[in-house]
């Protein structure tokens, strides 16, 4: 089905081809019918092996035939001694190898080989590893072979170091070897396991137990309730805020807990910060230097540009902000197909930097205006914000996660390209919204605002929706509480 070139040929060539295929087809059909007849008759004999061998050599994806073959082999096992069984399955391995030469990517072939090794009284894993070596020398990207190799390595106890050396050799002879790099990503952690996540060390004056907070539960929490295990927060009645520290995988997290108006509602504001050791920092610094040297030689190399951006972020996101923005600009020019990706990634980094610059987690006014933002993210870190300015960006929508901003009172989002206000629903404190010069086209685009019961001021000037018939009366019906409406 793949890689079959359509070749134009003469009428005579067409006729010859047609006759040839008709002959092949007849042979195939008669062999297939014979096999299926035998199987229906419950015959599990040598002839079955011969017939299936014929068919499978050129049709290894005909899975039912492998099944039948296995049934025959299992049957033959019952009447043979161990050494005969060994021979039986060794000859099966020869057969499979011949099939693999024809089609090295047949799921059926590789699975059957694995199965045979479970039936062999004495599997020869050295030979199997050799097969993998040969197969990979012909096609280093054959994932069937890599997967089979992993089984062989596991069964025969080949060391991680040995396999790493194997990948070294492959990469050394052909640098473009994603399969080898991938394999390394699974081998290295086995050689250098990460230390187990420790329980939180408390450095704040507040007494807390050691919580194992699963951040994804927090981030998915659209309301203000914080899902902490019992006993992890103690004696909150006298505290205005609590700080909890913990380690999650490779990063340190801080969590500042604030009491809200109701004692049982805790607002969570998480500032995730990755703290690098001195050793890690100097390694990354050296990498950054190398990459910068490479960039001088190849200023249009997108991989280099992107890697530099990521290294700078790991080392000093705020310090490198200007350079980062310049590199993103270059990236969009040298790799225009992915400019949407780069714009979104840059937006994410700018939002992260703005959050990092927040001096206190208590900051309530948050400005992201004029940053070429194409997407919003980390909204879960802005739960306490009362005023947000998103004006003069390239936003297309206010996404569902926007509804997390439960403290929001004022939203400025002028001069974007916003068509959808999905996320602007059930915001209980929202009083004022400015959406001048956007792309709100239909009345239905504004429906979610009806759930924001404190909304009184709404500016929709410069949106296509003003052309809707009877828009004034329609809007006053949809949003009766809005007193100051600008169209």
């Amino acid at each position: 089905m793949h890689g079959r070139v359509k070749v134009k040929s003469t009428a005579q060539q067409e006729e010859e081809k047609r006759k040839e295929r008709e002959k092949k087809l007849k042979a195939f059909v008669s062999a297939r019918d014979a096999v299926l007849r035998k199987r229906s008759a419950g015959e599990h004999d040598e002839e079955a092996l011969q017939l299936t061998q014929q068919l499978l050599s050129s049709n290894p994806d005909f899975a039912t035939l492998w099944n039948y073959r296995r049934e025959v082999l299992l049957q033959l096992e019952t009447s043979r001694e161990k050494d005969e069984v060994q021979k039986l399955y060794e000859s099966e391995l020869h057969f499979i190898e011949a099939c693999l030469k024809v089609n090295p990517k047949s799921y059926g072939c590789w699975h059957h080989r694995s199965w045979v090794n479970t039936r062999l009284p004495q599997p020869d894993w050295t030979r199997e590893l050799g097969l993998c070596d040969r197969c990979l020398s012909l096609d280093e990207r054959n994932f069937h072979c890599w997967d089979y190799r992993r089984v062989v390595v596991k069964e025969s106890g080949v060391s991680v170091e040995q396999e790493l050396q194997f990948t070294d050799r492959l990469i050394g002879s052909n640098f473009s070897n994603y399969s080898s790099w991938h394999y390394r990503s699974t081998l290295l952690p086995q050689l250098h396991p990460q230390p187990a996540p420790d329980s939180a060390s408390n450095t704040s004056p507040s007494p807390t137990a050691s919580p194992q907070i699963h951040s994804h539960r927090i981030f998915n929490c659209l309301c203000q309730l914080c899902d902490l295990p019992p006993g992890s927060v103690s004696d909150i009645s006298n505290e205005h805020n609590l700080t909890v520290h913990w380690t999650e995988k490779y990063t340190h997290r801080d969590c500042a807990l604030y009491t809200g108006e109701h004692r049982d509602q805790l607002l969570v504001c998480v500032c995730g910060r990755s703290e690098l050791s001195v050793e890690k920092s100097s390694v990354l610094q050296a990498e950054l230097q190398s990459c910068n040297q490479l960039l001088e030689l190849e200023p249009q190399n997108k991989w280099c540009l992107l890697t530099i951006i990521l290294l700078m972020r790991a080392l000093d996101p705020l310090g490198h902000e200007k350079e980062t923005l310049a590199h993103f600009q270059t990236l969009k020019e040298v790799d225009p197909m992915r400019s949407s990706y780069y714009s979104d990634l840059c937006s994410k980094f700018l939002i992260e930097n703005t959050i990092l610059k927040m001096e206190y987690a208590e900051v309530r006014v948050f400005s992201l205006s004029n940053k070429n933002l194409t997407t919003l993210c980390h909204l879960d870190q802005l739960l306490l914000v009362t005023h947000i300015n998103l004006s003069s960006n390239q936003l297309l929508r206010l996404p569902p996660q926007f509804a997390m901003l439960q403290c929001l009172e004022v939203l400025e989002a002028d001069d974007n390209a916003i068509e959808s206000l999905e996320g602007l629903y059930h915001l209980p404190k929202l009083e004022e919204v400015s959406l001048r010069n956007n792309q709100i086209c239909k009345l239905s685009d504004l429906e979610s605002l009806a759930s924001c019961t404190k909304l009184t001021r709404l500016d929709l000037r410069g949106n296509p929706v003003h052309k809707t018939a009877n828009i004034d009366s329609e809007l006053s019906q949809l949003l009766p509480l809005v007193t100051a409406l600008s169209l």
Binding site: L25, L36, W146, D147, Y178, S185, R338, S340
Partner: protein, 331 residues
Amino acid sequence: MGTQVKDVIIKPDAPNTLLLDKHADYIAAYGSKKDDYEYTLSEYLRMSGIYWGLTVMDLMGQLSRMNREEIIEFIKSCQHDCGGISASIGHDPHLLYTLSAVQILSLYDSINVIDVEKVVDYVKGLQQEDGSFAGDKWGEIDTRFSFCAVATLALLGKLDEINMDKAVEFVLSCMNFDGGFGCRPDSESHAGQIYCCTGFLSITGQLHKVNADLLGWWLCERQLPSGGLNGRPEKLPDVCYSWWVLASLKIIGRIHWIDKAKLRSFILACQDEETGGFADRPGDMVDPFHTLFGVAGLSLLGDEQIKPVNPVFCMPEDVLQRVGLQPDLLS
């Protein structure tokens, strides 16, 4: 300097308009010549072949041209005693063809012509202790089969019959450093597997476990200068990846990260103006498999001449609405 980028060059005279009628004619006629060589040799996947043909016809609004009664009878005679369904008569049952059969019957709103309870038993019985699914009783494990299992049960409204937690745990154990997924734990990321795993996670409501930004980047890097998509780094583009990659991007909310216009040009260039149908790449031989995924890819890109397609099930959205299935997508 540097390694050559594997890609194709699209010739200036390649097709650049959508030839929907030609494709409908191609599919309608496919398989009518029962003595065709390719057709006979692909009997081992016939059930999937029928699903590909019917789905693309339905997407083009031409389902009525196919032989509903004959197909339904065929499916009935492919259900085995164990409940599983085979690719064709005389072949052995397998999860792949069980899913295809259930998809076809959903298109035809005729699920009950088969023994649904037995299908559920068959699927349940293939779940292993580690949560994975074997393809059949012979034990091959692959995340493709995790997808087949939950997609089948979702279409039958029976998702609660398997160990969901374990099933999810297994699929997540196949997540790699690049955010992608392979066949089994430690297998290399591959667009086909990624489609199966993101589809699985969508059906099971676990998409938040995906690193959407990381995976989205890996997926958008599949786009080559020709505009076509490959299935993993340094491979040639193929129209079927317009489905596996694109649907995955849609599921994780990052479809805008590829250049849609360039991809559309590539897909259109894979059409065969003479015979109808799509090939894997421009100039190659066409087949129903690539025809479905070319058309489905164009639908995901927003072509209004084609019915909207669901990115998880690769079936028309209106069919899923009728069944009552609206799997989550990330935004």
